[in-house]
């Protein structure tokens, strides 16, 4: 799939929804629980979390790949770990800035 910054996607194995913050310049497969994410408004049959793809996606956390080419923000939490072309995404640990606001 071609990812684009701002695109909202949802999991078919759980309640997870994400928004793409940084997209790679080539097509990739973004999965949750082993199944590809679909457009937020698409009506598709639901599935099960595949073995080896268990895990939770947490509200408000940002997930990135090791290369830093993909970043998504979780807008609704759910089960089924996120992965890109089979590589699990990790929670991005942001260096907290002092509150300026």
């Amino acid at each position: 799939m071609e990812l684009k910054a701002g695109t909202q996607l949802k999991s078919v194995v759980g309640t997870t929804e994400v928004v793409v913050i940084r997209a790679p310049d080539h097509p990739v497969t973004l999965t949750s629980g082993g199944a590809p994410l679909v457009g937020r408004d698409e009506d598709v049959p639901t599935g099960e979390v595949q073995a080896g793809s268990e895990g939770s996606v947490l509200l408000g956390k940002r997930y990135v790949d090791a290369a830093g080419s993909v970043e998504v923000l979780c807008t609704k939490p759910g089960d089924g770990a996120l992965a890109i072309d089979g590589e699990p995404l990790e929670v991005k640990s942001a260096k907290p800035l002092p509150s300026s606001d």
Binding site: G6, Q8, L59, T75, P98, S100, D101
Partner: protein
């Protein structure tokens, strides 16, 4: 990326946490989101092209802002303190808008397309309110009039993606502890007021609004409500420090962070504040309307390290606006466009996803994304940014570029001076000549000759004002920005 996404998140993730307190009434995140969704539905039903907000801080401010965002139309907070003519001009520039007002409706408001702010909030039914479908992320989210210190105010355009980029780049969702409370005293029409609102909601930090700033009221709320964060503009901090002039300590143990920005902070005020708020972390935030607020920060540890240091280089950092936030780049260029090396002052250019650099109809960004801020400044070898002031304020005397801030700092270092400005007036021999206007403190005894000698000793004779005038106060905007052009025209008319 669409701004309303953050409401979906706060609604689900922070629902029963307190979001905003105003006039003693608190609204939680779920109610705020639902009222905003209902507002979006209202605006879509009416088919209005934009939403104008005319008033002080109130729960109607976030509801109308997010309501407009969800409807995909611009939110336009106007300065309610403007004169009738100027306000009418700005209102006329946005015909057909839904107008939310405080007190009496503006003359141009039409029934059906306007509402008093509390009545507006009360009229929104939260039962069955649903998030609207996301509008185009490239849609205009906010039209903010710049303060217009050097020219007539113009409306800066901030799109959903600019504000979201700022927010996601600098704030962690639900990152605040449950007991964190932020006291906000900047008005809705200021970019810091909008940035404050968004950051605190997204972080899950309760916001308390002060309607109209007063140092005694501000201190009372900090103490009574155990406020943990507060943001002020320099004139407010000056008033707080002045209010505490007999005190050894501000007596605000809950206050973890005090941030300031929006105008240049006079050094003596900052020094006194660092003494009074000895356990509080200070944050200097620098940004422009056109950059979706903060692009550089000087943090608490950096303030204390500079304040406690005897080394002049380290101590000078107190006058810096700190280092860039993630995702923002800086260049300092000379007048011919050449990029200057570290340490050399010139024109400041910025680039990044949060930077809009766009005004109604006109994009100021260069092809490769650089935005000319028209601020003058320089960067030190560790990446600390120093801002000297607006390029338009630079005085050219006998071919020499003179930043007035440098001279103003020297004048302000005199015990008897509470405010100071230096401007250039037309001069046949030098092109421009320097004139200082100062505000003496109560009972202070000084004269023009003493002040000129002070500048001559610290700087050099070409930077010494030819004349020093004494005024009871200087003209400033509501948020503390000095109106230099008013000073110039008063001096020229005299």
């Amino acid at each position: 990326m669409y701004l309303g996404l953050i409401l979906d998140m706060t609604h689900d993730g922070l629902g029963d946490r307190s979001a905003v307190t105003i006039d003693g009434r608190t609204v939680d995140h779920a109610e705020l989101a639902e009222r905003s969704w209902a507002a979006s539905a209202r605006f879509l039903e009416l088919g209005v092209p934009s939403v104008v907000y005319l008033g002080t801080n109130h729960i109607a401010f976030p509801v109308a802002l997010f309501g407009a965002a969800g409807a995909g139309i611009p939110f336009i907070p106007l300065n309610y303190r403007l004169g009738a003519d100027q306000l009418a001009t700005q209102l006329d520039a946005h015909p057909g808008s839904f107008v939310i007002y405080e007190g009496e409706p503006p003359v141009s408001a039409t029934p059906g397309r306007s509402a008093e702010r509390q009545a507006f909030v009360d009229s929104l039914d939260t039962v069955g309110a649903e998030p609207p479908s996301p509008p185009d992320p490239d849609a205009t989210c906010l039209l903010l009039y710049t303060s217009g210190t050097t020219a007539a105010p113009k409306a800066a355009v901030l799109r959903h993606r600019h504000l979201m980029s700022y927010l996601l780049g600098t704030v962690e969702f639900a990152g605040a502890d449950e007991d964190e409370v932020s006291l906000v005293s900047v008005p809705p029409y200021h970019v810091a007021g909008v940035a404050n609102l968004l950051s605190n909601l997204y972080a899950g930090r309760r916001i308390i609004y002060i309607d109209r700033f007063d140092p005694q009221v501000w201190l009372g709320i900090v103490r009574d409500e155990k406020v943990t964060q507060a943001m002020v503009v320099p004139t407010m901090l000056a008033q707080i420090v002045d209010h505490l002039r007999e005190a050894d300590d501000a007596d605000t143990p809950s206050l973890r962070t005090l941030s300031y920005g929006g105008a240049r902070m006079p050094e003596p005020v900052l020094h006194r504040a660092l003494e009074l708020f000895s356990t509080t972390g200070f944050v200097n935030a620098y940004g422009l309307t056109e950059t979706s607020s903060t692009i550089a920060l000087l943090g608490p540890d950096e303030h204390r390290a500079a304040f406690d240091s005897d080394d002049p280089v380290a101590r000078a950092r107190l006058g810096s606006v700190g280092r860039l936030v993630p995702g923002v780049e800086i260049e300092v260029r000379d007048d011919g466009g050449g990029v200057l090396e570290v340490g050399r002052p010139g024109l400041v250019f910025l680039r990044g996803d949060q930077i809009s650099g766009e005004y109604a109809g006109v994009a100021l960004l260069e092809e490769d994304g650089w935005f000319p801020t028209r601020d003058r400044g320089w960067i030190d070898e560790d990446g600390y940014v120093f801002i000297e002031g607006r390029a338009d304020d630079t005085i050219i005397r006998g071919g020499e570029n003179i930043a007035p801030a440098e001279i103003e700092d020297v004048l302000l270092s005199h015990d008897g001076i509470v405010d100071a400005v230096v401007v250039g007036l037309p001069d046949d021999q030098w092109g421009q000549r320097l004139v200082a206007v100062v505000v003496p403190g109560e009972g202070a005894a000084t004269d023009a000759e003493e002040l000129r000698a002070l500048v001559r000793a610290r700087l050099r004779s070409s930077k010494t004002p030819e004349a020093v005038e004494f005024w009871p106060e200087l003209p400033r905007t509501d948020t503390g920005k000095l109106l230099r052009r008013v000073v110039v025209s008063r001096l020229s008319g005299a």
